[in-house]
Symmetry: C2
Subunit: 400 residues, 2 copies
């Protein structure tokens, strides 16, 4: 098998952990696998470097940030190569540049544009295990670039796609994707398989295991993803195309997003263009709007609600004060969003209504509802968030 | 003026010191100088990385050591670029590769083969201050290489030579080159100027300011060197061609090398080939021999003495036990080498004899003597080392 493995900062946090990663890679190699490993910087290193930059300048040039931040992954990649060599394997570390990862010119949040697989393939053909410094690439001007948050996952997925790997394993400190947060519902169950689209919903709901960009890229390049823990040998969760999941569960899991705040505009003039004006302005100021709901009113007036991240509420207030788009404006940061996720919804009706009636039985008022083909999201009062998760987890028979 | 400045690890040891370096560079820029800065890793960083490698493998692959060790200078170069930008200067950091430093393929002790100055010149023409990550280059196979001990000095000198800089300033934590170690002779005087050849003698005697390789390269490329402190504004010591020193001192300084051990072979057969055999073997085992003295004996036998570094004495003993080249072999590690250095000796006689008679007056027995055009070295008992330095410092009127 041709395997790409990615180890995050906690998995390579010190020399001892790097040696453990080497043992894990070594067992793959002894099984006859060909392996490309992608590594992050040692846990804490990137924060340290960001701290240095912050002490020097409030607005450090992004090009220089990339030179600075790309150094951490180089350290890990060479140390892991040494560890594998010392175990008798032929190993070679590659920087983003050497691994052929070409990006656009947007420093600190570059996008991978292509991967020149020549060096990767040459070394694989020579039966070497390759360790790629994650999170980084090179621009057409030969400048170092970094890929932003979750960048090493992106490196791994892109490489797996480019060399047509059989699987791309993302190692973190958790076992995989759960039906819900086990800290909220101890009976949460680890999912064996899940579709890309479901994973995207989980990820956007704050599941820290995988960033959306990586899942989207995996979907696009049809890379079979596995998320699992580097600290045990438990099977992880496989993330694949919907078609590859034989028996789809009706609902795969329940997600709780606590980082939400609601803005409700009461009595806005029901004319075209008002909503557009509001959301254009929010977007110009880089406020990320999540749910949007508008009810057409009977007297030519409408109520509009939207949710944003909690720490952006003050910013939104300033914009609303300025635009003054409605008679009354309500701001509420004691809300949460609870979501029922499952590709099975596509072919089954009644999923949403059983959620509504279950919450009603618990006396939980639903403030906003938004649905997609594979998701029902509900905004409720924050204090009911965890109760709602447990209730829904039971309603859809997700218990272990 | 086109100036190359090199700052070592102690000068960029933390963010505060990096900011101070930025102020120093800024004052050059405000004076209208064009500046290329070469930086080392932050003090302690390289040792930390070497430590990591040591925990992982006793013989880490040298290619991987280079990937590992080259990361530290990148960090410093980007941080200094940020600091200069925040002071309003246009700055750009360059890695060894980006600065066009091409080396041979000998990892961890690579030699610079050429410098492609295109990127350096382009950025200088755009009036940017350039910060180059020292100690590193790139091989013809596109691999990162490092230059070994004192590598950042080499980077600076090579760049200064390649872009034809007016001066190459090497900043450390000492003011310059002294007539002798001020801890031994408080009246030691800082030298204003000194020739490359004298500097080479001082450096090989353990003056830590500059490595021999950098001085040799500066001599070869005719780069005007200055060594000075980054912690004050004192003038440093200028290191130039002999012809540029108008009034040569008879003697420039006295050096003491404590890291010496003596091996004396008594009664070796006075046939050709014996000495060759000994020194070939020592060289095969990477033992660096310093002084060699042989007296032809009257009965067809000879006595041969040589000195090596103290920590290599045990190794030398093992080799001598094996070769058994003489009837008696003496090993002595309680010796030192004291040297009188000065280009003026070339044109003046009597320098050596006044050294001998001065030491004789102090009751110091000279065990070995070796002379070159600009140096007289004497091996004496270790306990007399510092007395000898003070005596000679006075004899040649070097006092402040």
């Amino acid at each position: 098998m041709l395997v790409v493995q990615k180890y995050g900062g906690t998995s390579v946090g010190n020399v001892e952990k790097i040696k453990n990663v080497a043992k894990r890679v070594s067992s793959n190699l002894r099984n006859g696998d060909k392996v490309v490993v992608v590594v992050s910087a040692m846990g804490g290193e990137t924060d340290k470097l960001v701290g240095y930059a912050g002490e020097i300048s409030k607005t450090p040039p992004k090009r220089e940030m990339d030179v600075l931040l790309s150094s951490g992954e180089r350290v890990t990649s060479s140390l892991l190569a040494m560890a594998l060599e010392s175990m008798g394997h032929e190993a070679i570390s590659l920087t983003g540049r050497q691994a052929g990862i070409k990006t656009n010119n947007v420093h600190t949040t570059a996008r991978i544009e292509s991967i020149d697989t020549q060096v990767l393939k040459k070394n694989l053909n020579e039966n070497k295990v390759i360790i790629v410094a994650g999170f980084q690439g090179i621009t057409e001007n030969n400048e170092v670039s970094t890929l932003g948050r979750g960048g090493s996952d992106l490196s791994a997925v892109a490489i797996a796609g480019a060399i047509n790997a059989d699987v791309c394993e993302i190692y973190t400190d958790v076992d995989g994707i759960y039906t819900t947060d086990p800290r909220i519902e101890p009976k949460a169950r680890k999912l064996e398989k899940i579709s890309y689209d479901e994973m995207l919903e989980f990820a956007s709901m704050g599941a820290k295991v995988l960033q959306n960009r990586s899942v989207e890229l995996a979907k696009k390049m049809n890379v079979k993803l596995v998320t699992r823990s580097s600290f045990n040998n438990n099977e992880g969760t496989l993330i694949v195309k919907e078609e590859e999941i034989m028996e789809e569960a009706l609902v795969s899991g329940i997600a709780l997003d606590k980082n939400q705040a609601r803005v409700t505009l009461i009595g806005i003039s029901d004319k075209p263009g008002i909503a557009a004006q509001i959301f254009e302005r929010l977007s110009e100021e880089n406020l990320n709007v999540d749910m949007i709901i508008q009810n057409v009113g009977i007297y030519g007036e409408a109520n509009l609600s939207f949710t944003i991240a909690q720490n952006e509420l003050e910013h939104a207030k300033r914009i609303m004060d300025e635009l003054h788009p409605a008679k009354n404006i309500e701001f509420d940061d004691s809300i949460v969003k609870v979501s029922v996720i499952g590709v099975g919804m596509k072919s089954h009706s009644g999923v949403a209504s059983s959620a509504f009636s279950a919450l009603a039985k618990d006396g939980i008022n639903i403030q906003m509802i938004s649905t997609s083909e594979i998701k029902v999201s509900m905004v409720i009062e924050a204090k009911y968030g965890e109760l709602a998760v447990r209730t829904l987890h039971k309603v859809y028979n997700l218990q272990d």
